[in-house]
Amino acid sequence: MGKIAIKVTVNGKKYDLEIDPRLRLIDLLRDELRLTGTKEGCGEGECGACTVLLNGAPVNSCLVMAFQADGKKVLTIEGLGSEEKMHPIQEEFLKQGAVQCGYCTPGMVLSAYSLLKKNPQPAREEIKKYLAGNLCRCTGYDKIIKAVESASQKGVSRDD
Protein backbone atom coordinates (compact mmCIF):
# COMPACT_ATOMS: atom_id res chain seq x y z
CA MET A 1 0.00 0.00 0.00
CA GLY A 2 2.80 2.34 -0.72
CA LYS A 3 3.16 4.92 -3.34
CA ILE A 4 2.17 4.66 -6.96
CA ALA A 5 4.50 5.34 -9.83
CA ILE A 6 3.00 7.46 -12.58
CA LYS A 7 4.24 9.12 -15.73
CA VAL A 8 2.49 12.32 -16.57
CA THR A 9 3.15 15.18 -18.95
CA VAL A 10 2.30 18.55 -17.50
CA ASN A 11 2.53 21.62 -19.73
CA GLY A 12 4.73 19.68 -22.10
CA LYS A 13 7.14 18.56 -19.41
CA LYS A 14 7.42 14.87 -18.57
CA TYR A 15 7.38 13.77 -14.98
CA ASP A 16 8.09 10.38 -13.42
CA LEU A 17 6.52 10.57 -10.01
CA GLU A 18 5.90 8.44 -6.96
CA ILE A 19 2.66 9.60 -5.45
CA ASP A 20 0.36 8.88 -2.55
CA PRO A 21 -2.73 7.16 -4.01
CA ARG A 22 -4.96 9.52 -2.06
CA LEU A 23 -3.77 12.61 -3.89
CA ARG A 24 -6.17 14.32 -6.24
CA LEU A 25 -4.92 15.80 -9.46
CA ILE A 26 -5.22 19.31 -8.01
CA ASP A 27 -3.05 18.31 -5.03
CA LEU A 28 -0.46 16.89 -7.39
CA LEU A 29 -0.38 20.08 -9.44
CA ARG A 30 -0.41 22.58 -6.60
CA ASP A 31 1.41 20.87 -3.76
CA GLU A 32 3.84 18.55 -5.55
CA LEU A 33 4.57 20.43 -8.77
CA ARG A 34 3.99 23.87 -7.24
CA LEU A 35 1.78 24.97 -10.12
CA THR A 36 -0.44 27.24 -8.05
CA GLY A 37 -2.27 28.87 -10.94
CA THR A 38 -4.91 26.14 -10.60
CA LYS A 39 -7.29 27.27 -7.85
CA GLU A 40 -9.57 25.32 -5.52
CA GLY A 41 -12.96 26.84 -4.80
CA CYS A 42 -15.19 24.03 -3.60
CA GLY A 43 -13.54 20.63 -3.81
CA GLU A 44 -16.71 19.14 -5.26
CA GLY A 45 -16.69 19.97 -8.95
CA GLU A 46 -19.24 22.73 -8.58
CA CYS A 47 -17.24 25.88 -9.27
CA GLY A 48 -14.74 24.99 -11.98
CA ALA A 49 -11.92 27.11 -10.51
CA CYS A 50 -9.69 24.02 -10.60
CA THR A 51 -10.33 23.31 -14.29
CA VAL A 52 -7.35 21.87 -16.18
CA LEU A 53 -7.23 20.10 -19.51
CA LEU A 54 -6.67 16.36 -19.29
CA ASN A 55 -5.75 15.01 -22.69
CA GLY A 56 -7.23 18.20 -24.08
CA ALA A 57 -10.58 18.07 -22.31
CA PRO A 58 -11.50 20.30 -19.39
CA VAL A 59 -12.01 18.46 -16.11
CA ASN A 60 -12.33 19.53 -12.50
CA SER A 61 -8.93 18.60 -11.12
CA CYS A 62 -10.52 18.26 -7.67
CA LEU A 63 -12.58 15.30 -8.94
CA VAL A 64 -9.79 13.39 -10.63
CA MET A 65 -7.44 11.18 -8.66
CA ALA A 66 -3.82 11.96 -9.40
CA PHE A 67 -3.09 8.37 -10.43
CA GLN A 68 -5.75 8.70 -13.13
CA ALA A 69 -3.45 11.14 -14.92
CA ASP A 70 -0.95 8.35 -15.49
CA GLY A 71 0.10 8.32 -19.12
CA LYS A 72 -1.88 11.47 -19.86
CA LYS A 73 -1.21 15.07 -20.76
CA VAL A 74 -2.23 17.87 -18.43
CA LEU A 75 -2.43 21.52 -19.40
CA THR A 76 -2.64 24.12 -16.64
CA ILE A 77 -2.78 27.88 -16.93
CA GLU A 78 1.00 28.04 -16.56
CA GLY A 79 1.32 26.04 -19.76
CA LEU A 80 -0.97 28.20 -21.85
CA GLY A 81 1.01 31.39 -21.96
CA SER A 82 3.46 33.44 -19.98
CA GLU A 83 3.67 37.08 -19.04
CA GLU A 84 6.05 37.60 -21.93
CA LYS A 85 4.02 35.68 -24.44
CA MET A 86 0.42 35.42 -23.51
CA HIS A 87 -1.98 33.20 -25.39
CA PRO A 88 -4.36 35.33 -27.49
CA ILE A 89 -7.28 34.20 -25.32
CA GLN A 90 -5.49 35.55 -22.28
CA GLU A 91 -4.93 38.78 -24.17
CA GLU A 92 -8.62 39.05 -24.95
CA PHE A 93 -9.49 38.50 -21.28
CA LEU A 94 -7.21 41.46 -20.56
CA LYS A 95 -8.53 43.68 -23.29
CA GLN A 96 -12.18 43.06 -22.60
CA GLY A 97 -11.81 43.49 -18.85
CA ALA A 98 -12.95 39.94 -18.13
CA VAL A 99 -10.79 39.70 -15.01
CA GLN A 100 -11.74 40.97 -11.58
CA CYS A 101 -10.65 39.10 -8.46
CA GLY A 102 -8.95 36.62 -10.77
CA TYR A 103 -9.74 33.48 -8.82
CA CYS A 104 -11.97 31.92 -11.46
CA THR A 105 -9.80 33.25 -14.28
CA PRO A 106 -7.33 30.37 -14.84
CA GLY A 107 -10.13 27.81 -15.03
CA MET A 108 -12.28 30.09 -17.14
CA VAL A 109 -9.45 30.77 -19.60
CA LEU A 110 -8.71 27.06 -19.96
CA SER A 111 -12.36 26.24 -20.59
CA ALA A 112 -12.52 29.00 -23.18
CA TYR A 113 -9.33 27.75 -24.82
CA SER A 114 -10.72 24.23 -24.99
CA LEU A 115 -13.99 25.48 -26.47
CA LEU A 116 -12.28 27.39 -29.26
CA LYS A 117 -10.10 24.41 -30.07
CA LYS A 118 -13.19 22.31 -30.44
CA ASN A 119 -15.45 24.90 -31.95
CA PRO A 120 -13.61 27.93 -33.36
CA GLN A 121 -16.78 29.89 -34.14
CA PRO A 122 -19.13 29.22 -31.25
CA ALA A 123 -22.49 30.93 -31.03
CA ARG A 124 -23.16 32.91 -27.86
CA GLU A 125 -25.34 30.12 -26.45
CA GLU A 126 -22.64 27.57 -27.19
CA ILE A 127 -20.13 29.67 -25.28
CA LYS A 128 -22.52 29.86 -22.37
CA LYS A 129 -23.19 26.16 -22.32
CA TYR A 130 -19.52 25.26 -22.51
CA LEU A 131 -18.48 27.67 -19.74
CA ALA A 132 -21.41 26.87 -17.46
CA GLY A 133 -19.23 24.76 -15.18
CA ASN A 134 -17.07 27.77 -14.31
CA LEU A 135 -18.69 29.98 -11.71
CA CYS A 136 -17.73 33.63 -11.35
CA ARG A 137 -19.12 35.93 -8.69
CA CYS A 138 -17.45 39.17 -9.79
CA THR A 139 -18.09 39.79 -13.45
CA GLY A 140 -21.66 38.74 -14.16
CA TYR A 141 -19.95 36.82 -17.00
CA ASP A 142 -20.63 39.60 -19.51
CA LYS A 143 -17.06 40.53 -20.34
CA ILE A 144 -15.97 36.91 -20.22
CA ILE A 145 -18.38 36.11 -23.04
CA LYS A 146 -17.15 39.16 -24.94
CA ALA A 147 -13.55 38.00 -24.52
CA VAL A 148 -14.36 34.58 -25.95
CA GLU A 149 -16.35 36.08 -28.82
CA SER A 150 -13.60 38.48 -29.62
CA ALA A 151 -10.94 35.74 -29.48
CA SER A 152 -13.12 33.65 -31.76
CA GLN A 153 -13.50 36.47 -34.28
CA LYS A 154 -9.75 36.85 -34.36
CA GLY A 155 -9.42 33.15 -35.09
CA VAL A 156 -7.11 32.58 -32.13
CA SER A 157 -7.82 28.88 -31.98
CA ARG A 158 -5.65 28.44 -35.03
CA ASP A 159 -2.69 30.25 -33.55
CA ASP A 160 -1.15 27.23 -31.89
Binding site: M1, R24, L63, F67, Q68, S111, Y130, A132, G133
Partner: protein, 291 residues
Protein backbone atom coordinates in the same frame (compact mmCIF):
# COMPACT_ATOMS: atom_id res chain seq x y z
CA UNK B 1 -8.80 8.67 4.81
CA UNK B 2 -6.95 5.39 4.97
CA UNK B 3 -4.52 4.31 2.31
CA UNK B 4 -5.69 1.95 -0.38
CA UNK B 5 -4.28 -0.15 -3.15
CA UNK B 6 -4.96 0.98 -6.70
CA UNK B 7 -5.34 -1.14 -9.78
CA UNK B 8 -5.63 0.45 -13.19
CA UNK B 9 -6.50 -2.38 -15.60
CA UNK B 10 -6.41 -1.61 -19.30
CA UNK B 11 -8.68 -4.40 -20.51
CA UNK B 12 -11.68 -6.26 -19.22
CA UNK B 13 -9.85 -9.51 -18.43
CA UNK B 14 -7.42 -7.61 -16.26
CA UNK B 15 -10.23 -5.76 -14.61
CA UNK B 16 -11.98 -9.03 -13.73
CA UNK B 17 -8.70 -10.47 -12.45
CA UNK B 18 -8.31 -7.42 -10.22
CA UNK B 19 -11.84 -7.91 -8.93
CA UNK B 20 -11.00 -11.49 -8.10
CA UNK B 21 -7.75 -10.84 -6.28
CA UNK B 22 -8.77 -7.63 -4.54
CA UNK B 23 -8.84 -7.80 -0.77
CA UNK B 24 -10.95 -5.94 1.74
CA UNK B 25 -13.48 -3.41 0.63
CA UNK B 26 -13.23 -2.87 -3.07
CA UNK B 27 -14.51 0.14 -4.96
CA UNK B 28 -14.69 0.72 -8.67
CA UNK B 29 -13.64 4.11 -9.92
CA UNK B 30 -14.56 5.40 -13.34
CA UNK B 31 -15.11 9.14 -13.84
CA UNK B 32 -14.56 9.98 -10.22
CA UNK B 33 -17.16 12.74 -10.08
CA UNK B 34 -18.96 11.03 -7.19
CA UNK B 35 -16.14 8.77 -6.06
CA UNK B 36 -13.65 11.49 -5.11
CA UNK B 37 -16.24 13.38 -3.07
CA UNK B 38 -17.38 10.23 -1.27
CA UNK B 39 -13.79 9.27 -0.56
CA UNK B 40 -13.00 12.65 0.92
CA UNK B 41 -16.11 12.89 3.05
CA UNK B 42 -15.44 9.37 4.32
CA UNK B 43 -18.68 7.82 3.11
CA UNK B 44 -16.58 5.21 1.33
CA UNK B 45 -13.43 3.75 2.87
CA UNK B 46 -12.02 1.32 0.32
CA UNK B 47 -9.02 -0.95 0.82
CA UNK B 48 -8.77 -1.48 -2.90
CA UNK B 49 -9.68 0.84 -5.75
CA UNK B 50 -10.00 -0.46 -9.28
CA UNK B 51 -9.84 2.36 -11.78
CA UNK B 52 -11.78 1.13 -14.79
CA UNK B 53 -11.61 4.41 -16.69
CA UNK B 54 -8.83 3.01 -18.85
CA UNK B 55 -10.52 -0.30 -19.76
CA UNK B 56 -10.78 -0.18 -23.53
CA UNK B 57 -13.77 -2.52 -23.94
CA UNK B 58 -15.82 -0.29 -21.66
CA UNK B 59 -15.28 2.79 -23.77
CA UNK B 60 -16.86 1.75 -27.05
CA UNK B 61 -20.13 2.79 -28.59
CA UNK B 62 -21.27 0.43 -31.32
CA UNK B 63 -24.23 -1.02 -33.16
CA UNK B 64 -24.39 -4.82 -32.93
CA UNK B 65 -27.05 -7.54 -33.15
CA UNK B 66 -29.91 -5.10 -33.21
CA UNK B 67 -28.62 -3.16 -30.21
CA UNK B 68 -26.91 0.12 -29.59
CA UNK B 69 -24.17 -0.92 -27.19
CA UNK B 70 -22.56 1.65 -24.93
CA UNK B 71 -19.57 0.74 -22.78
CA UNK B 72 -20.05 1.54 -19.11
CA UNK B 73 -16.99 3.79 -18.95
CA UNK B 74 -18.14 6.03 -21.80
CA UNK B 75 -18.24 9.64 -20.67
CA UNK B 76 -21.26 11.85 -21.11
CA UNK B 77 -19.33 13.95 -23.60
CA UNK B 78 -18.57 10.85 -25.64
CA UNK B 79 -22.24 9.87 -25.58
CA UNK B 80 -23.65 13.30 -26.32
CA UNK B 81 -21.27 13.77 -29.23
CA UNK B 82 -21.57 10.26 -30.69
CA UNK B 83 -23.23 10.30 -34.08
CA UNK B 84 -24.51 6.83 -33.43
CA UNK B 85 -26.22 7.82 -30.19
CA UNK B 86 -27.60 10.96 -31.77
CA UNK B 87 -29.10 8.90 -34.58
CA UNK B 88 -30.28 5.86 -32.67
CA UNK B 89 -31.07 7.20 -29.20
CA UNK B 90 -31.37 10.94 -29.48
CA UNK B 91 -32.96 11.38 -26.07
CA UNK B 92 -29.92 9.79 -24.45
CA UNK B 93 -27.57 12.15 -26.29
CA UNK B 94 -29.72 15.04 -25.09
CA UNK B 95 -29.76 13.77 -21.51
CA UNK B 96 -25.99 13.31 -21.57
CA UNK B 97 -25.52 16.87 -22.79
CA UNK B 98 -27.55 18.20 -19.85
CA UNK B 99 -25.48 16.54 -17.14
CA UNK B 100 -23.76 18.97 -14.72
CA UNK B 101 -21.16 20.86 -16.70
CA UNK B 102 -18.64 20.35 -19.48
CA UNK B 103 -16.05 19.32 -16.90
CA UNK B 104 -18.37 16.78 -15.30
CA UNK B 105 -19.49 15.46 -18.69
CA UNK B 106 -15.86 14.94 -19.66
CA UNK B 107 -15.18 12.79 -16.61
CA UNK B 108 -18.50 11.28 -15.53
CA UNK B 109 -19.51 7.95 -17.06
CA UNK B 110 -22.83 6.37 -17.84
CA UNK B 111 -22.00 3.24 -15.86
CA UNK B 112 -21.19 5.35 -12.82
CA UNK B 113 -24.41 7.30 -13.24
CA UNK B 114 -26.40 4.06 -13.20
CA UNK B 115 -24.47 2.44 -10.37
CA UNK B 116 -24.62 5.47 -8.10
CA UNK B 117 -28.41 5.37 -8.22
CA UNK B 118 -29.17 9.05 -7.79
CA UNK B 119 -32.93 9.54 -8.17
CA UNK B 120 -32.22 12.62 -10.28
CA UNK B 121 -29.62 11.00 -12.59
CA UNK B 122 -30.15 12.53 -16.00
CA UNK B 123 -29.35 9.46 -18.08
CA UNK B 124 -31.89 7.26 -16.34
CA UNK B 125 -35.23 8.41 -17.77
CA UNK B 126 -33.75 8.24 -21.26
CA UNK B 127 -32.40 4.74 -20.69
CA UNK B 128 -35.64 3.55 -19.11
CA UNK B 129 -37.72 4.90 -21.98
CA UNK B 130 -35.33 3.25 -24.41
CA UNK B 131 -35.85 -0.14 -22.69
CA UNK B 132 -32.13 -0.33 -21.96
CA UNK B 133 -30.65 -3.41 -20.37
CA UNK B 134 -27.46 -3.44 -18.39
CA UNK B 135 -24.85 -6.17 -18.70
CA UNK B 136 -23.22 -7.03 -15.42
CA UNK B 137 -20.20 -9.31 -15.24
CA UNK B 138 -18.77 -10.90 -12.13
CA UNK B 139 -15.15 -11.65 -11.29
CA UNK B 140 -15.47 -15.11 -12.80
CA UNK B 141 -16.62 -13.68 -16.08
CA UNK B 142 -20.20 -14.78 -15.60
CA UNK B 143 -22.53 -12.22 -17.04
CA UNK B 144 -26.16 -11.36 -16.49
CA UNK B 145 -28.42 -8.76 -17.95
CA UNK B 146 -31.09 -6.74 -16.15
CA UNK B 147 -33.33 -3.82 -17.08
CA UNK B 148 -31.64 -0.53 -16.24
CA UNK B 149 -34.25 0.47 -13.68
CA UNK B 150 -33.52 -2.67 -11.67
CA UNK B 151 -29.95 -1.63 -10.90
CA UNK B 152 -31.04 0.88 -8.28
CA UNK B 153 -31.84 -0.43 -4.81
CA UNK B 154 -32.92 2.91 -3.44
CA UNK B 155 -31.18 6.26 -3.16
CA UNK B 156 -27.41 5.81 -3.60
CA UNK B 157 -27.64 2.00 -3.43
CA UNK B 158 -27.47 -0.63 -6.14
CA UNK B 159 -28.23 -4.29 -6.60
CA UNK B 160 -24.73 -5.23 -7.69
CA UNK B 161 -22.79 -7.67 -5.53
CA UNK B 162 -19.24 -7.03 -4.43
CA UNK B 163 -17.39 -8.63 -7.30
CA UNK B 164 -19.63 -7.40 -10.09
CA UNK B 165 -19.06 -4.72 -12.64
CA UNK B 166 -21.37 -3.01 -15.13
CA UNK B 167 -19.81 -3.49 -18.52
CA UNK B 168 -22.33 -2.39 -21.08
CA UNK B 169 -25.65 -0.73 -21.66
CA UNK B 170 -27.70 -2.31 -24.44
CA UNK B 171 -30.42 -0.38 -26.14
CA UNK B 172 -32.69 -2.22 -28.58
CA UNK B 173 -32.52 -0.36 -31.88
CA UNK B 174 -35.56 1.57 -32.90
CA UNK B 175 -36.97 1.68 -36.40
CA UNK B 176 -36.89 4.74 -38.63
CA UNK B 177 -40.37 5.74 -37.55
CA UNK B 178 -39.38 6.35 -33.92
CA UNK B 179 -38.73 9.73 -32.33
CA UNK B 180 -37.21 10.47 -28.94
CA UNK B 181 -36.72 13.49 -26.70
CA UNK B 182 -35.50 14.43 -23.23
CA UNK B 183 -36.40 17.40 -21.01
CA UNK B 184 -35.17 18.58 -17.67
CA UNK B 185 -36.29 21.09 -15.10
CA UNK B 186 -33.62 22.32 -12.70
CA UNK B 187 -33.32 25.21 -10.28
CA UNK B 188 -30.92 26.85 -12.66
CA UNK B 189 -29.84 26.30 -16.22
CA UNK B 190 -26.51 24.61 -15.60
CA UNK B 191 -24.86 22.77 -12.73
CA UNK B 192 -28.39 21.78 -11.85
CA UNK B 193 -29.78 18.72 -10.20
CA UNK B 194 -32.97 17.75 -11.95
CA UNK B 195 -36.13 18.57 -10.05
CA UNK B 196 -37.94 16.56 -12.71
CA UNK B 197 -36.62 14.99 -15.86
CA UNK B 198 -38.50 13.14 -18.53
CA UNK B 199 -37.82 11.12 -21.66
CA UNK B 200 -40.32 10.28 -24.34
CA UNK B 201 -39.85 7.63 -27.02
CA UNK B 202 -42.61 7.28 -29.62
CA UNK B 203 -43.32 5.44 -32.83
CA UNK B 204 -45.02 7.82 -35.17
CA UNK B 205 -46.69 6.97 -38.43
CA UNK B 206 -46.10 10.10 -40.40
CA UNK B 207 -48.40 9.30 -43.27
CA UNK B 208 -51.34 8.57 -41.02
CA UNK B 209 -50.24 11.18 -38.48
CA UNK B 210 -50.75 8.63 -35.72
CA UNK B 211 -48.76 7.77 -32.62
CA UNK B 212 -48.37 4.00 -32.79
CA UNK B 213 -46.38 3.38 -29.65
CA UNK B 214 -45.07 5.41 -26.74
CA UNK B 215 -42.75 4.96 -23.79
CA UNK B 216 -42.51 7.70 -21.19
CA UNK B 217 -40.12 7.71 -18.27
CA UNK B 218 -40.00 10.19 -15.43
CA UNK B 219 -37.09 10.88 -13.10
CA UNK B 220 -36.61 12.70 -9.78
CA UNK B 221 -40.17 11.95 -8.72
CA UNK B 222 -39.35 8.70 -6.93
CA UNK B 223 -36.24 6.79 -5.97
CA UNK B 224 -35.64 5.63 -9.52
CA UNK B 225 -36.84 6.70 -12.95
CA UNK B 226 -39.96 4.79 -14.02
CA UNK B 227 -42.27 4.20 -16.98
CA UNK B 228 -45.82 5.42 -16.87
CA UNK B 229 -48.27 3.29 -18.85
CA UNK B 230 -51.06 5.62 -17.89
CA UNK B 231 -49.57 8.52 -19.81
CA UNK B 232 -48.42 6.29 -22.62
CA UNK B 233 -51.99 5.13 -23.10
CA UNK B 234 -53.07 8.70 -23.68
CA UNK B 235 -50.77 9.01 -26.65
CA UNK B 236 -51.02 5.66 -28.39
CA UNK B 237 -53.46 5.56 -31.26
CA UNK B 238 -53.92 9.30 -31.32
CA UNK B 239 -52.95 12.20 -33.51
CA UNK B 240 -50.65 14.84 -32.01
CA UNK B 241 -52.64 17.99 -31.37
CA UNK B 242 -52.93 20.80 -28.87
CA UNK B 243 -55.74 18.89 -27.19
CA UNK B 244 -53.69 15.73 -26.94
CA UNK B 245 -50.80 17.74 -25.52
CA UNK B 246 -53.06 19.15 -22.81
CA UNK B 247 -54.41 15.72 -22.00
CA UNK B 248 -50.93 14.25 -21.93
CA UNK B 249 -49.73 16.98 -19.58
CA UNK B 250 -52.70 16.46 -17.27
CA UNK B 251 -52.04 12.73 -17.11
CA UNK B 252 -48.34 13.12 -16.42
CA UNK B 253 -49.32 15.52 -13.68
CA UNK B 254 -51.53 12.89 -12.03
CA UNK B 255 -48.72 10.38 -12.32
CA UNK B 256 -46.39 12.72 -10.44
CA UNK B 257 -49.05 13.31 -7.81
CA UNK B 258 -49.50 9.57 -7.29
CA UNK B 259 -45.78 8.94 -7.24
CA UNK B 260 -44.86 11.38 -4.48
CA UNK B 261 -48.18 11.99 -2.69
CA UNK B 262 -46.66 13.06 0.63
CA UNK B 263 -43.68 15.01 -0.51
CA UNK B 264 -43.80 18.75 0.16
CA UNK B 265 -42.60 19.46 -3.36
CA UNK B 266 -45.53 17.49 -4.87
CA UNK B 267 -47.92 20.41 -5.54
CA UNK B 268 -45.15 22.24 -7.33
CA UNK B 269 -43.80 19.30 -9.29
CA UNK B 270 -47.31 18.25 -10.24
CA UNK B 271 -47.81 21.53 -12.03
CA UNK B 272 -44.27 22.11 -13.22
CA UNK B 273 -44.23 18.76 -14.97
CA UNK B 274 -47.00 20.06 -17.22
CA UNK B 275 -44.67 22.72 -18.55
CA UNK B 276 -42.12 20.01 -19.15
CA UNK B 277 -44.71 17.84 -20.87
CA UNK B 278 -45.57 20.72 -23.21
CA UNK B 279 -41.91 21.25 -24.01
CA UNK B 280 -41.22 17.62 -24.78
CA UNK B 281 -44.40 17.24 -26.79
CA UNK B 282 -43.51 20.28 -28.85
CA UNK B 283 -40.02 18.96 -29.44
CA UNK B 284 -41.40 15.71 -30.81
CA UNK B 285 -44.39 16.89 -32.77
CA UNK B 286 -43.62 20.45 -33.81
CA UNK B 287 -44.42 19.43 -37.39
CA UNK B 288 -47.89 18.15 -36.54
CA UNK B 289 -48.67 21.02 -34.18
CA UNK B 290 -47.91 23.59 -36.84
CA UNK B 291 -50.42 22.07 -39.25
Amino acid sequence: MKKFTVYSPKNLDDALRCLKTATGQTKLLAGGTDFVIQLREGSITPDTVIDISGVQELKCIKEEDGFLKIGAACTFTQISESNLVQQKAFCLAQAASEVGSEQVRNAGTIGGNIANASPAADSLPALVALNAEVTIVDANGKSRSIPVEKVSAGVGKNNLVANEIITEINIPLLGEDWRTAFCKLGRRKALAIARINMALVVRFDESAGLIKDARIALGAVGTVAFRTQKAEGILVGNKPSRELMEKFAETVSTVVEESIPTRSSMPYKRTAVKGLAFDIFEKLFSDSLKK
